[in-house]
């Protein structure tokens, strides 16, 4: 019985290796496909892959934690391959199911599972946050910049720490005001509270605020527009939301991670292991487009480009909060 299963597995594997029957699938995080931020980035990457290759991609949005494992197993049983798990909450599910289906390739975004058929994709959010922190300090006239985080978890403190370090890098005297929106997952989607926190920080003198808070950020950007101050977007390029008051966005290219995983599977050069995407790999970056080019002066651009080159070249090492769960001064 087992040998038959193995034989079927091998045939299936051979077929996919030739790129004949690629059946990719995505399991989205609790936020859902259209969160204008993290999950939607993956949707964009998947859409691009389908457009380029003509291969249809199956997907599933979970409604509770138990369904992560169920969804991965169902996709694996149907022979979907490769399967992308979006978000760190899926680590345990991918670990379990990838162990049961050694012939199916899994890609996990934002967490690590060390199995021979799993590709783990991590991002250096602190490097991107460092850059936008530096830009915030350059653009600030009051010498005070703000940060609004989503749920208070280590990942968001990593954004915050990178941002603070970046701001202090260009202006050692800058003051960074920071608030977290909440302690439950509702904090990812609370624009009202985001707006109130932003107004509070504006009242205390901040004139640039970086929101790393998913859907909550929308409220922060609106508050910046209402007060005529500046805001910085996150994950996707959100510059277009309010042209004129969006200083920039810290883009995290989850779309690239999804696209490249499927593309590599199609071309037969998919690899397991850990991929860490930083500034150097184009995994994180700051966004400059027609919506914010008037806000970024030539001098600012030169300075940020130089800082970016220094980080890429290794001259500046950005502290990673999650390396020791602390943000030293």
């Amino acid at each position: 019985m087992r040998s038959i299963g193995l034989a079927i597995g091998l045939i299936a594997f051979a077929a996919t290796a030739q790129g004949q029957e690629l059946k990719p699938a995505v399991v989205f995080d609790m936020g859902g496909k259209f969160d204008k931020s993290f999950n939607e980035g993956v949707v964009n990457g998947v859409t691009r892959f389908t457009r380029d290759s003509g291969v249809a991609v199956a997907d599933f949005e979970v409604t509770n934690e138990t369904q992560f494992e169920q969804a991965h197993r169902r996709f694996a049983q149907r022979g979907q391959n490769p399967i992308i798990g979006v978000g760190f909450s899926q680590g345990n599910a991918v670990k379990k199911v990838a162990g049961e289906f050694p012939n199916i390739r899994f890609t996990l975004i934002d967490s690590v599972v060390e199995l021979p058929n799993v590709q783990s994709v991590l991002f250096k959010e602190h490097e991107g946050s460092f850059l936008v922190g530096a830009l915030a300090a350059l653009a600030s006239k009051t010498g005070k910049v703000g940060f609004v985080g989503g749920m208070d978890i280590p990942l968001i403190r990593r954004f915050q720490c990178g941002y603070e370090k970046g701001a202090k890098f260009v202006n050692p005297n800058v003051e960074v005001l920071a608030n977290m929106t909440g302690t439950t997952p509702a904090a990812w989607n609370d624009p009202g509270r985001g707006g109130e926190l932003a107004k509070g920080q504006f009242d205390r003198g901040a004139d640039v605020i970086y929101a790393a808070a998913g859907g909550t950020g929308v409220g922060v950007y609106q508050a910046a527009k209402d007060r005529g101050r500046l805001a910085i977007g996150v994950d996707s390029n959100q510059n277009h939301l309010h042209p004129g008051t969006m200083l920039t966005s810290m883009v995290k290219r989850v779309d690239l991670a999804a696209y490249e995983s499927f593309k590599a599977a199609k071309d037969g050069n998919w690899k397991s292991g850990i991929r860490v995407l930083g500034l150097k790999e184009g995994g994180v970056d700051w966004a400059l487009d027609q919506h914010n080019e008037k806000l970024v002066t030539a001098a600012m651009k030169t300075r940020i480009d130089q800082t970016k080159a220094d980080i890429v070249g290794g001259k500046i090492a950005v502290h990673d909060y999650m390396s020791n769960n602390a943000c030293p001064n």
């Binding site: 599933f60 949005e61 934690e65 197993r73 345990n92 934002d110 978890i153 439950t184 997952p185 999650m322």
Partner: protein, 366 residues
């Protein structure tokens, strides 16, 4: 629980009318599926086979039903005492916390056969303790139980987030999760148990909690209708003043019934933490506490009814997931609409068809 109107055979009341309600709900849901351009027949077939079609589907359905039995019984017990316990969500959450704390402390010291009863006891104890405060406030201070139990849901969420983010988080973990328990600290999975006696089924989260759920249902039935305290509880529920006049100490009964209610809800935490996930994390109750209210209402607050309603809700949850899986244009929000319609027709509109049936049967017998 309400008196059956005369002239309606019991099989119509408990069998035919609910079946018609579900059929009506599926009919309206079918129209919606048709409106977005999919085949209603295919959708219903996927939902039914997805929930009951094969071993794995049944396993998931029963796993969801296990939670709903616990929370549904919790609401039903309180309801018999005339109390509306909306705090099942928080009580289950805290019950799970109790299990988790015990396992994190003891899982490397004690064998599995000892850990399981400890987990069971602590889930019930923590759930009961979380219900005891609103119960005391209701009985002795007159604070309305609906308000306080809702508030305690939020308190439970805030407390657990604080503990998970600051105290219990596994070192180096991105998600707010505790470390995984040692292998001894878990309830046996159903596929393992069945595998031992030679029956092979797929991996599902179904575990021995379902046996505890069935036992809890029988226990609640015995308690409510065959013990003095159960009698007192129902007496207080029917008329507190009459109960007091009869010499029943109603305040104690209120506190006791809510503690029992909280203990039952807490067991849903046992299913999730010790049965399925073997670690503490955020939001593991995932709405089962609120679904329990609908389960109890639909099950007419009787353990057998609660069991059947829990099965229906479990099947809806599992079949709905399969639906979203197989037909991409039916999103998870659409699935919620379909589930909502079933709840609307068989719960909220339960008495809607009754007059027509009464007329029909009156004519038939007359």
């Amino acid at each position: 629980m309400s008196a059956r109107p005369a002239g309606l055979p019991r099989w119509v009341d408990v069998g035919l009318i609910p079946a018609c309600n579900v059929a009506l709900a599926l009919g309206v849901a079918g129209l919606i599926v048709l409106a977005i351009g999919e085949s209603p027949w295919r959708a219903i077939r996927i939902m039914v086979t997805g929930a009951l079609g094969q071993g794995e589907a049944i396993g998931y359905t029963l796993y969801y039903a296990t939670n709903y039995v616990f929370t549904g019984l919790a609401v039903a017990v309180a309801f018999h005492a005339g109390l509306f316990n909306i705090g099942g969500e928080g009580q289950a959450y805290i019950g799970g916390l109790g299990v988790g704390l015990a396992m994190l402390a003891l899982d490397r010291l004690l064998p599995g056969w000892l850990l399981a009863p400890i987990g069971l006891a602590l889930a019930a104890l923590f759930g009961a303790a979380w219900a005891a405060i609103p119960a005391w406030l209701q009985a002795y201070r007159g604070s309305h139980i609906v308000i306080t139990t809702i508030m305690f849901n939020f308190l439970a969420a805030a407390l657990i987030v604080y503990l998970m983010v600051n105290v219990l988080i596994a070192p180096g973990s991105m998600a707010a999760e505790s470390r995984e328990f040692a292998p001894a600290a878990r309830l046996p999975m159903m596929h393992e148990v069945l595998g031992m006696v030679g029956i092979k089924v797929g991996h599902t989260p179904l575990n021995l909690s379902i046996v505890i759920a069935v036992a809890a249902g029988i226990g609640v039935w015995l308690f409510l209708w065959h013990t003095p305290l159960g009698y007192e509880l129902r007496a207080v529920g029917h008329s507190e003043r009459a109960a007091v006049y009869a010499g029943i100490r109603s305040r104690r009964v209120v506190v006791a019934s809510l503690c029992l209610s909280g203990a039952l809800a807490g067991l849903a935490g046992l299913n999730e933490i010790l049965g399925v996930h073997h670690r503490l994390f955020l939001n593991f109750v995932a709405g089962a506490g609120f679904t329990g209210i609908a389960v109890a209402l639909m099950g007419r607050n009787h353990p057998i009814g609660v069991g059947l309603a829990a099965l229906l809700f479990g099947a809806l949850q599992q079949g709905g997931a399969e639906l979203a899986f197989e037909i991409p244009s039916i999103t998870r929000e659409m699935v919620v609409v379909i589930q909502g319609l079933v709840i609307l027709f068989s719960g909220a509109l339960a008495y809607w068809l009754r007059p027509s049936f009464e007329r029909l049967f009156a004519r038939g017998s007359g």
